[in-house]
């Protein structure tokens, strides 16, 4: 075995580290540790001169392992791995010790902080002795894509991909394509016809040579990994075996069922309807009560099922604007009608939406504010001699008065919630869900389209409630990502994965139960677990759960971690003696 030659570099980070840690002392003390050939401190290790220093030392002193003690590896681990590559070393022969976030920024005693820094660097030096070279791995990409869900997001993604010449399989649970958008009359804020937009797209998708549509179809199970997924789809008694490289999940959301909210009497009072039912009225071209009369008073109640700890805590994001849209449609359909909007907060954000709010508020619409958290309005039947069919009682927040609203028709602005089968779908596609049953994106800010499973993307409402343009943007973003991998032909997969020592594996299947990525399968012939390295994310759950120690997590081996702890303790003991 080759001789271990470690180079240690302590970063000042300007004054960020140096003001609280005696970096020169750290370098001096650690240069005396076994196998450490050289230990230096420098003002900014991440700067070009700092990196050059490492490269020169590697060549001059024939170093084969590098420890950098600086900021969080989240910030600069990749930077230094590249430095090692440039110097001709394997990038995994590198370890970082975080003495900024974990030391200088959080302590105020310079002597103790310096001790702690020494402990952390010693741990890294001990660990790196056990590091192994790891090689990059790639898999080839099947250019076909599976799109699950035929709403506006799914249709958009399918068309974008198919137009580039790739094969697309579009799976729709229902008989009709178009999803929620096909069920509404006008879009906000510009009051354009939803039908015109969606029908044109449905027509295109139905005649597209690169798109195969499966209606009335539900995905059961998907096998494989990025670039190489496969699934068996049953349709009309026949089964089709599909192979595809990427998956777009666009299953959307369904509207909330308000029957459970006693105050609103939905299902008992005939003229209390949901926003979706009102859309149907608008599509039919007639706004009428159950008795067939034109209503003189229409009340619109916001936030039904949203922003309330009893139903859903989140905001459904679209209902406020839909409610404003209804006010406009009502005003033009029945000019004399009294329109009341009982709202919790008006959230008319986004392009053109505040303007819609302003213009609507000038159309003789009465806005009444209630407390969505603990004081919902109550809808009740009016007395026989009253001029209206129903009255809505509420405590109006802005006036502080208890008021009643006369109503002949009440529209409940129902929120959006996860599909009933969202959980099953998440399981079969291998993606996670948030607390409120939306599919979880890889990163809420930096990667809101991908998921933690490579090759699976979430677009449209199934990721979170959103407007049509947002859903379309997300669909197109996912398409671009998929096109990029298809163009490359192959994709790099995670190197830090788990591996099974088949000689020790006892076949207990514990690892299969705990794996959050369904990356482990069982080889019945040899009675051992097998890790699919294309799916494995190297989280290490299986390694720690394995009772026999048969699973080894690459780059996080037992030896690496134990010696890291040993290194840490060697200096920590001194810290306690202080």
């Amino acid at each position: 075995m080759e001789e271990i030659r470690i180079g240690v570099y302590i970063c000042w980070c300007g004054t960020n580290i140096a003001k609280m840690v005696d970096v020169e002392d750290v370098a001096r003390e650690l240069s005396e540790m076994p196998d450490v050939v050289i230990a230096k401190d420098y003002k900014y290790m991440c700067s070009d001169p700092g990196q050059d220093l490492i490269i020169k030392d590697i060549k001059k002193h024939n170093l084969n392992r590098i420890v950098v003690s600086a900021c969080s590896p989240r910030i600069h681990e990749l930077t230094f791995r590249r430095t090692l590559e440039n110097a001709g070393l394997n990038p995994y022969m590198f370890q970082m010790a975080n003495i900024r976030e974990q030391v200088s920024w959080v302590h105020d005693d310079r002597i103790k902080a310096t001790k702690k820094a020494k402990a952390l660097v010693a741990a890294a030096i001990n660990r790196i002795k056990w590091h192994e070279s790891l090689d990059k791995r790639t898999v080839s990409i099947n250019p076909s894509t599976l799109v699950i869900g035929g709403g506006i997001a799914g249709i958009t993604a399918a068309l974008e991909l198919a137009d580039t010449g790739s094969q697309v399989f579009l799976v729709e649970k229902e008989r009709k394509l178009g999803g929620n958008m096909a069920k509404i009359d006008l879009t906000f804020p510009y009051l354009n016809s939803a039908q015109q937009i969606i029908n044109e797209k449905i027509d295109r998708i139905e005649h597209h040579p690169n798109i195969r549509i499966f209606r009335n179809t539900v995905i059961d199970e998907i096998f494989g990994y990025i670039g190489n997924f496969n699934s068996t789809i049953g349709q009309n008694g026949t089964e089709a075996e599909l192979k595809f490289g990427n998956i777009i999940v666009a299953t959307g959301l369904k509207s909330f069922d308000p029957s459970g909210i006693k105050n609103y009497g939905y299902g008992k009072l005939p003229d209390v309807i949901t926003s979706l039912e009102f859309e149907q009225m608008l599509l039919n071209g007639k706004i009428l009560t159950k008795e067939g009369k034109e209503p003189a008073n229409v009340a619109i109640i916001h936030c039904v099922g949203s922003r309330n700890s009893d139903e859903h805590e989140y905001c459904s994001r679209t209902c406020c604007m839909s409610a404003l849209k209804y006010a406009n449609q009502l005003r033009s359909a029945i000019p004399e009608v009294n329109i009341y909007q009982a709202y919790a907060d008006m959230r008319a954000f986004g392009k053109g939406c505040e303007e819609l709010y302003c213009s609507t508020s000038r159309k003789d619409v009465m806005f009444l504010m209630f407390d969505q958290q603990k004081d919902l309005p109550v809808i009740m039947e009016a007395k026989a001699d009253d001029s209206c069919k129903m009255v809505i009682e509420m405590n109006e927040k802005l006036s502080g008065e208890r008021i009643e609203i006369p109503a002949d028709l009440v529209i409940l602005m129902v929120g959006l919630e996860a599909q009933d089968d969202a959980k099953e779908l998440a399981r079969s596609v291998g993606i996670s869900m948030c607390g409120n049953s939306f599919f979880m994106e890889k990163h809420p800010k930096l990667d809101p389209v991908a998921t933690t499973t490579s090759g699976v993307y979430v677009v449209g409402n199934c990721q979170a409630p959103k407007e049509i343009p947002d859903a379309i943007s997300q669909a197109k973003a996912a398409t671009a990502r998929i096109m990029a991998t298809i163009k490359q032909g192959e994709v790099e997969v995670e190197v830090i994965t788990a591996e099974v020592n088949e000689d020790i594996c006892c076949g207990c299947k514990t690892c299969i139960q705990v794996c959050p990525y369904t990356a482990i399968t069982f080889d019945e012939n040899n009675s051992v677990s097998v890790v699919n390295e294309a799916i494995c994310k190297g989280c290490g759950t299986c390694g720690s759960a394995c009772p026999t120690g048969a699973i080894r997590s690459r780059h996080f081996t037992d030896n690496q971690i134990l010696s890291q702890i040993k290194g840490l303790m060697s200096k920590s003991l001194e810290l306690n003696e202080l």
């Binding site: 508020s361 009682e393 208890r402 008021i403 009643e404 609203i405």
Partner: protein
């Protein structure tokens, strides 16, 4: 108590001068910036809300509009240009029409034709009375060279007219104030101990005479209070002179200029002219928020008072300079403007604020004192 929202109130209030209905989004800037805001008695935002929702009962029990003197700060700084100041002004018209049980106030405020008809009708009756009666037009002058005014218009007849007018106007005002009292205190069930009515009573004449609250509105180089106070005192002195001291006021002698009767008369005239010119220039130039919007009733008020004042000045000059015919005809014109002005403007229109404002302040202090007293007894009971 539960109140039904009423979108139709808006239509009423638009006729009474409300400018903008929908702009207000209840940020509360108006309430924050107002110098006179008080939790229970003046809260412009809350009044705006009651008006928007058409909550008639709350609105009619609310004295906020009377507590506002319209400095215009709220409208100047309103982020939505919702003109809360003008809403308060319009609500004063609304409340005047609500307190007035005859319904004439509402008719005059909302129907220009009827208002003009009433004014011209009364003026015509005055002229006709003079014509039918046919007073002697004595061209001879007194030894001092003055016009013999008392032979043209004998004191006892004019006094009779003065007093009957005063009684009618007072009866109307008092009954309207009782109506206001019912809406503000009785109907909402405010409990006020009898002793409080007595202890707070001094505020009524005190605020009438000083309008101390209004002084707080004189910020940023505005002198509304001064102009208004001069106009108010001028008018009040003149009113007392012609009603109570008519025998001393309408005289044929030409007193020295330092005589109390002439000094008081000149002060009143100056006060009225000063205030009126200030207001008229303001309303023409629209140079301040308070003058930006002029309802017909605002214009009629100043124009009629101005005409009365000018005809009064002319009457005085013609009399002491011995111009009998000019004096007699100007006298008729003066009375023909004065009578409709007082009979229409005081009980039914803008001028009613001379009574409603001090009473609103009185009612507000009644409520405040009563709740403080209740709080103290409650506290005492708790301690015991």
């Amino acid at each position: 108590m539960i109140q039904r929202v009423n979108p139709n109130l808006k239509k009423d209030l638009l006729k009474l001068g409300v400018k903008d209905w929908n702009e207000c989004f209840h940020c509360g800037n108006c309430t924050a910036i107002c110098q006179l805001t008080e939790e229970d008695s003046l809260n412009p935002r809350k009044v705006f809300r009651q008006a928007q929702l058409g909550l008639k009962t709350s609105l009619q029990a609310n004295i906020s509009p009377w507590m506002c003197y319209y400095c215009g700060e709220c409208s100047d700084t309103c982020p939505r240009d919702a003109n809360p100041g003008e809403l308060m002004m319009s609500l004063r018209r609304y409340l005047t029409s609500i307190y007035d049980w005859t319904g004439l106030s509402r008719l005059f405020y909302t129907n220009k034709f009827m208002e003009f008809a009433a004014i011209l009708g009364l003026a015509t009756i005055v002229i006709l009375l003079f014509a039918i009666w046919g007073p002697p037009l004595d061209p001879t002058l007194t030894s001092e060279g003055g016009v013999k005014i008392n032979s043209f218009a004998p004191i006892k007849w004019i006094e009779l007219g003065d007093w009957s007018m005063a009684v009618v106007v007072a009866a109307l005002l008092i009954s309207n104030i009782l109506n206001m009292f019912y809406k503000v205190i009785i109907k909402p069930g405010v409990k006020i101990p009898l002793s409080v009515y007595a202890t707070e009573l001094w505020k009524l004449p005190a605020h009438f005479a000083t309008q101390a609250k209004f002084r707080k509105c004189d910020t940023k180089g505005k002198y509304y209070w001064g102009a208004h106070w001069m106009m108010m005192t001028g008018y009040t002195i003149m009113f007392i002179l012609i009603v109570v001291f008519l025998p001393e006021f309408q005289v044929e002698e030409i007193y020295d200029w330092w005589h109390w009767q002439r000094l008081l008369g000149y002060y009143s005239t100056f006060g009225l002219l000063f205030g009126l010119i200030y207001v008229i220039i303001g309303r023409i130039k629209q140079n301040n928020q308070i003058f930006k919007f002029s309802h017909l009733s605002d214009w009629l008020f100043v124009i009629m008072l101005f005409m009365t004042t000018v005809s009064g000045i002319m009457l005085h000059l013609f009399r002491i300079n011995g111009m009998p015919y000019a004096t007699y005809y100007t006298y008729i014109a003066h009375i023909a403007i004065l009578i409709p002005m007082i009979c229409i403007e005081v009980p039914f229109s803008k001028w009613s604020h001379l009574a409603y404002r001090p009473f609103a302040i009185y009612f507000a202090s009644l409520k405040k004192a009563a709740s403080e007293k209740q709080y103290k007894t409650g506290l005492a009971a708790e301690i015991a």
